[in-house]
Assembly symmetry: C2
Homo-oligomer: 205 residues x 2
């Protein structure tokens, strides 16, 4: 009658992982990411260095693993909004719902984002994760594209640009301490594509 055969191990593993990450995160915020070693983390968490390393392949993952489900979340949201014919609004909506799913603990997320952009290594690794999501997004975009619009380049660019919007919006959001509305920030970011890109509106129509 156990939840799943052998599943208890998974549950336990997940819980340990979360606890290790919690302890480690405090250290990172206190001392700075680069100043903390795996030996420090292991000691703080009360496990051996070996064990700690078995839960997180790299130091970056200790912080960034929380972003892992985001790729699938975005893809799922795109699937759910397949009817939407406008790529930009579809992307915007998908990003918002995925991000909202991420913003459970406002304070915690803001702290993470602060730490991330104080730390080049974390920025780099997060960007890397982002680019791993892109192929999935591109595939969704192409599924519903009209035959004439099938240029893979277009889909790639839109996916990449949308992810940049998310990242920039999250940066603003974190800078505001989580006060501003993420949907508004996304709108402001996506406006870069719809607003006429001109210094002076020389064609008032």
């Amino acid at each position: 009658m156990s939840a799943a055969p052998g599943g208890t191990r998974q549950i336990g593993r997940h819980a340990v992982r979360a606890e290790l990450a919690r302890v480690a995160f405090d250290r990172f915020c206190l001392t700075g990411f680069n100043q903390v070693t795996f030996a420090d983390l292991a000691e703080a968490a009360g496990v051996s260095r070996s064990t700690f390393l078995r839960y997180f392949g790299t130091k970056e993952d200790v912080v960034l693993f929380v972003f892992d489900p985001l790729g699938d979340a975005i893809a799922d949201a795109l699937d759910a909004d397949r009817a939407n014919e406008d790529d930009w609004s579809r992307l915007r909506n998908a990003l918002e719902s995925a991000a909202t799913f991420l913003v459970r603990d406002v304070q915690h997320l803001a702290t993470i984002l602060d730490l991330v952009d104080q730390t080049p290594a974390l920025c780099a690794r997060l960007r890397e994760k982002q680019s791993e999501w892109r192929p999935k997004i591109v595939a969704r975009l192409q599924e519903t594209a009209s035959p004439a619009d099938r240029s893979p380049v277009i889909a790639h660019v839109r996916a990449a640009a949308a992810l940049e919007c998310l990242w920039i919006a999250l940066g603003q959001w974190s800078a505001s301490g989580g006060q501003e509305d993420l949907g508004d920030l996304l709108d402001a970011a996506f406006a870069a594509f719809s607003t006429p890109a001109r210094a002076q509106t020389d064609a008032p129509l």
Copy 2:
């Protein structure tokens, strides 16, 4: 009557750097980036490990230092085209002239780009360099923006999106072995912003 007092050292240093990079690059292509150690590179180049490391802070820089001038090149090109009122075309032109400056040795650049996207560490580091160029680009865009358009978010998004276009276009270009015209590829990428983002053209006008 020497070029500059003490300047010979700089010249010499630059030349050595280029030679070390050349030797190292051959090794990387032959054996794979991750398989080659600094000790290998030093031996192949006939210098000590210490010396090699003094010329390149990281293994990634041995390959990617050629991209360093690109940030300034883009910024300069934006300055030169200050009259252009359309952000997108201004960015497109700046990227093309900067990239053309980069495409001196077609074969070499194509080989570099191949190596880069076979190697996650190189991708990550190159993306990092890219994001270092962004602030300079954003500043240029905002200088000439109309007061109403001063939202820093807009400029950030456009700069980021444009850089993604460059990267994607270079990927296509390298995949074609340097055959396709980079200007055409950039046009195709930037079309993602001007083409109506709709599955079916429901407004044929």
